[in-house]
Subunit: 130 residues, 2 copies
DNA sequence: TGATTATGTGACCAAATGGTCACATAATCA
DNA sequence: TGATTATGTGACCATTTGGTCACATAATCA
């Protein structure tokens, strides 16, 4: 085994911060990184769906959808309710909110002046040396 | 595939507001899906860094860092300022804010009662059938 | 009961991804 | 000028990933 990078044991020194965070936020990121999975979440946002109902809205196979669902479930983004032989997939927005707290919010608090300076310098520098 | 996305002409257009869709929000998601890249962004949030300064904070090679930077740049998450032979990498929070508007915010507006129902049913169903 | 339908599991494959290296270019300093 | 340092490019490789399929199990319906 030679991929210690994926399961980095901690790296807490850097990643730490205002954490508190989820067991593995990486899973949430990974789940969200795929367009099909984001589409699934969008559909699930309208209303919960059985797996096959979900499949009917995709062009690829049911198995692909199931795989995506498993990833989403592992990330906690989809909660599964069993009803007889049916599997009803619900959207769970909580992990996304955690992402927000850990990531989006801090970035919104970036001092505005730094951003402005940045924008200026970038514009200046990206101008062709004429 | 020859990634035409890379040579985005301007950037100021995106730095603007939440306007008209990002070129490809997929790129932002992909960029954010990797732990190393998120770490880079975290570092950049403290202060802009030259590439080599950035490298010194990672265990893997400079080339890997550069690749990550390129992905981040393509997603608009990192803006590059040239200063002599140095390349100073700045964090650009705008794409993350767009992600927020497109994704997090709508999910926060999910009707609370649906969530509650969901939670109840999940708890009920996941209980062993006694 | 048997047929049908909904979901789950395992093997498999092509493409993308994260990492490596060697080499090239360009700016700075003595 | 030459040496050093910062960054860029291309080839390469192992692993992961998104997709396929065949087959298995379980619940519903006639």
């Amino acid at each position: 085994m030679t991929s210690p990078t994926r399961s980095r044991p901690a790296a807490p020194s850097e990643v730490l911060e205002e954490q508190t965070v989820v067991p593995e936020q990486s899973e949430v990121w990974r789940a969200l990184s795929d367009p099909s999975r984001r589409r699934i979440l969008d559909i699930l946002r309208e209303a919960p769906q059985t797996t096959s109902a979900l499949c009917s809205r995709f062009e690829f196979s049911r198995f692909a959808v199931m795989k995506h669902l498993r990833v989403l479930e592992a990330a906690g983004l989809v909660l599964v309710e069993r009803q007889g032989r049916e599997r009803i997939n619900h959207l769970n927005p909580v992990p996304i909110q955690q992402i927000y707290r850990r990531w989006i919010k801090p970035f919104e608090q970036l001092p505005a002046d730094r951003l402005l300076r940045l924008k200026r310098t970038v514009e200046t520098t990206s101008r062709p040396p004429a």
